[in-house]
Symmetry: C2
Subunit: 490 residues, 2 copies
């Protein structure tokens, strides 16, 4: 098959789009900014969901479901929240269409809503309005709830997976009796996200806290995990917000404490979205297509028979079937592709494109010799391996590939955290090496904003494990106690 | 705990609502017609999803995701489809809010969409518009895709789970090269639904085909599974539609056949929704609360310790922990409720209300005697059972309960299929015994409509296993070849 993927070095952005389209992950729909997630792309999301959902349940959370629509008045109750989302809201104003008598379907103006409904861009407001009814006493706390849902943010410039008007995500919304508990929850979920990114996605991340400019609208603190893509741009892969009592105050949610006092409830919220699929693609793939870490690959092993006669095929099939069933019993997903409509070379290219971690090719000669040809997708190395104990070899190799993919991304990331000690240095680094640039900043929103306007770089985060170090702000020359990470970002 | 459930015989409708609310399954939200599915209710939906999703995958389907919004023009392309849904559509007209300068958040009239977007009430139109790009040749067929999603139908009268403005569902949309294949798919998915209803939900269903009046808007044939609730009203639990080439024609989706001809593609669609939770509640529950079939119960076994001293509690806990781990290893979900904030009687009532199939109570005396007190939720029978081999006893009992719940519903259903040989008889049966009433009908939409207007009963379906039998229509006296099933329905 002709791949037609633009080279990553030639045009990174086009390379990304080519992979998304050619690997059958997603496509633009006829609805502006909305994507269709195709079966292969969706199966990656399902793998992600399964792992994350289990992690949420293991940390005591339950799933629930809240309305898609938010009355405009609720949406407006938390001032900074509505300010953050008002400019990108889909608004429902009517609830009926009609035939105008000439065969045209038009909006029925007699069916206008008294109060407009906002299609949720995030659910804090509708959920805290609901929690009001659930919480009376400290005995009702904590509430540890997650929702898997679609949300809509009206984006002017969209990119498949990375930024779409509608996207799928999960949003956790928790309620606590104390500030400490809510902060601990916020940090715990950041750790869950980091663990998922690193140990499942093979994506090293920096855990950090956002500057006030970059905080979630309505949060007291936004924690994030920041990853680096292969073009040196950063990508925010997940956020966890400490909301303080902001939403409890906006929706008047109080509880009676053990001491009998009426207090406002403390909150966190946290989310990751289908954007993670974009990160996964960008972090590991190459000019031959998608590279998937085994733990999230819908197909981990593909077996392609190479035969001249039916007799050869029968022998190969018997072996492939037995191997498949052994691998499946060990929890490995296998596809035996014996389609006779495509040639082996076409299949090889297709599974490379789709990022299947291990490809086995088995021919008549292999059957005689008791071998198979094994190709690793990540390194594109081929080797001949014996059929005896092959399943054990494969299980170990999948682990090795998972580690190797992570290590490659980790080394890239480590090589792309650079210190800058002057504004000129920052600007030069942004235009040459890119990556995260660790520099001193005076802590003011004004300086941050100026740097953003002049360089398009933002402060991605203040790393949680930051060392304190005396210095001066690269922009203002004012004193600074620590470096922060600047980067251009998706 | 005070249950406060209205008796089923006193007020069936209130009884249903009481169970939904008191068992913490769902509640009305502040958004008209939209519900909040609470964690316990959602966990039942998750069990249903897991089983159905596996069945869809086992029959060759993959999941995908299509946009929430449908441009009005697409929506209008299939004439009978838009006619069926136009009067109940949420319409998005704007994409921005703004502050009016006086602190009020208002719709920004400068951000009006050129073309209104409909919040999907079902996705045939957006999906067939997408399939157009996926299908060129017979080699691209069949397409076997399912979507788990939320949909919106603007309902004036809503009831939790049974009829809500927004609901969760799955919708399968398949594309085929031939009519036969599409019909086979339609029938296969009906069988999948019937199997799920009967063997997981414990809900006997009649498989049948809808009359033209009751067909899905845009279908050539709608197949359905119809169940009977304990008040003798019918409930449509799932539908599977043979769409012919209607949507392929509306969206110009053609393929090149093996013979090299251009032909329109054949289609099916099929769905079940959170309405199934309503059916599950109504079919089995009693005045003490929810009764859940073990296969869909989020908690299958609850263990409640009854103790006077810490020493007693320790012994009971040691046993309960060991039993729990044995049961868990056998795939049984267990909860050991050793909360010291509630008394055993409160816990008993709570788990009855929540429909936990088996409750074990263990006291100090039990530990001495090597016994437990076991209560079945469905029959409310208690028995003393030995601790030795208890896990095996429980596994077998859960099977027995599953069968028993089904049999009870089956017997009720069988007793409530009655033949009527005159219109008077039909009317009398509707007002007394209710249930399905098998009667002759002349096959005309006019007669069906008249009967509906006069009795509020509809033809639920023509059963697939119907026997042919000469007779005369109970309404018009015209000749008829078979009986159809009338009922009042949810």
């Amino acid at each position: 098959m002709s791949k037609g993927i633009t080279s990553k070095n030639e045009d990174y952005s086009q390379w990304y789009n080519d992979i998304v389209i050619k690997a059958d992950l997603a496509e633009h729909s006829s609805v502006k900014g909305c994507m269709v997630i195709k079966p292969y792309g969706y199966s990656i999301w399902e793998k992600m969901q399964a792992v994350l959902d289990q992690k949420f349940k293991d940390t005591g959370h339950s799933n629930a479901y809240f309305p898609l629509f938010i009355p405009k008045s609720f949406f407006s109750k938390e001032a900074s929240h509505v300010e953050g989302f008002a400019t990108e809201c889909a608004v429902v104003t009517h609830y009926r269409l009609k035939n105008d008598g000439n065969g045209n379907i038009i909006v029925d103006e007699t069916a206008k809503l008294e109060e407009e409904l906002i299609v949720r861009p995030t659910s804090e407001t509708i959920i805290w309005n609901t929690y009001k009814g659930w919480i009376q006493s400290y005995r009702d706390l904590p509430i540890l709830v997650n929702q898997w849902a679609n949300v809509v943010r009206w984006e002017m410039r969209t990119r498949l997976f990375l930024r779409t008007t509608e996207f799928l995500w999960q949003e956790g919304h928790t309620a606590h009796a104390t500030s400490d508990e809510a902060i601990a929850e916020t940090r715990q979920m950041l750790d869950v996200y980091a663990d998922f990114a690193e140990n499942w996605m093979g994506l090293p991340v920096v855990k950090g806290v956002k500057t006030p400019n970059e905080r979630f609208a309505g949060a007291l603190d936004t924690y994030c995990i920041e990853a680096l893509m292969q073009d040196g741009k950063a990508l925010q892969a997940g956020t966890s917000h400490f909301l303080g009592q902001n939403f409890a105050k906006a929706f008047d949610v109080k509880f009676t404490s053990k001491e009998g006092k009426q207090e406002h409830v403390w909150a966190s919220s946290w989310g990751v979205s289908t954007r993670l699929i974009g990160a996964l693609i960008m972090a590991h793939s190459d000019d031959a297509g998608l590279v998937l870490p085994p733990k999230l690959a819908p197909i981990q092993v593909v077996i392609v028979p190479i035969y001249k006669t039916d007799e050869e095929l029968q022998k190969i099939s018997a072996f492939a079937t037995e191997l498949s069933s052994k691998l499946k019993s060990m929890g490995i997903s296998v596809k035996y592709d014996d389609r006779d409509t495509q040639r082996p070379g076409f299949k090889f290219a297709e599974y490379e494109l789709k990022g299947v971690p291990i490809r086995l090719a088995i021919g008549g000669r292999d059957m005689e010799n008791g071998t198979v040809e094994l190709a690793r997708r990540d390194t594109r190395e081929k080797q001949t391996v014996g059929q005896d104990g092959l399943e054990i070899f494969i299980v170990q190799l999948l682990d090795e590939i998972q580690r190797s993919i992570y290590n490659k991304a980790f080394n890239y990331r480590e090589e792309h955290i650079t210190e800058a000690n002057s504004y000129d240095e920052l600007k030069e680094l942004l235009d040459t090496k890119a990556g995260f640039i660790a520099a001193h900043w005076d802590g003011t929103p004004e300086t941050e904003q100026k740097i953003k306007e002049e360089t398009k770089a933002t402060i991605r985060c203040v790393p949680l494990d930051n060392k304190l170090e005396d210095g001066v702000c690269i922009y203002s020359g004012k004193p600074s106690k620590q470096r922060v990470l600047f980067a251009r970002a998706y």
